[in-house]
Amino acid sequence: MITVVLLGKLADLAGAPSLQLAAPLDWAGLKSALPDALSAALDDPRNRVALNGALLADKATLHAGEGDEIALLPPVSGG
């Protein structure tokens, strides 16, 4: 399984702070496995993706395997 951690308002769109999805997942696979509203939000370039705690420069290059953790990160809040 792959753990998907959702931060900020993306957790609201998912209805949970984390999800478990079957491995493996690439970018298209991840998007198709998520609820529509969340999947659409991921196209926003301001929403970043981390794999096992490392930010991806290009989220389309995502390749996650068994035991990996994907984090979906909306823009951080201001002061």
């Binding site: 931060l7 990160l73 809040s77």
Partner: protein, 148 residues
Amino acid sequence: MRDIRLLDQPFMPGMLIGPFTQANPGLGGVCTFVGEVRYDKGVEALELTHYEPLTLPGMHALADRAFERFDLMGLLMVNRVGVMRPGQPIVCVSAAALHRRDAIDAVDFCMDHLKSAAWFWKREKRAGQWTWIEPRAQDHSDLARWQG
């Protein structure tokens, strides 16, 4: 002396600042900023969420940059996560240096970056409803002060 922490429980800044000052003998100045949850109209609570693999390492990277940029003897950077009430401390940054300008500027630098670029997501509760706080234009201008 370098002390970078996330805390998930209320804290008293004085309990941190005293020992921090003691731990930097020979300093010429200490500058401390404490941020508290504002009593904005109708705000009942503020919640900060973080992402463990990014948030604390990001604060350490910020501390590294502060040490490179300013002539510091010590830096204390503590940020709360979890649910807070108005009036509770949310952040404490303290810098010790031989000269005041380095201490004052290091605190200002760290605060601008903590507020605008650190991995925290905030939401506030009004009338029982939680609302996420969006990025502000001011955050970009705060960061721009330190570029170039």
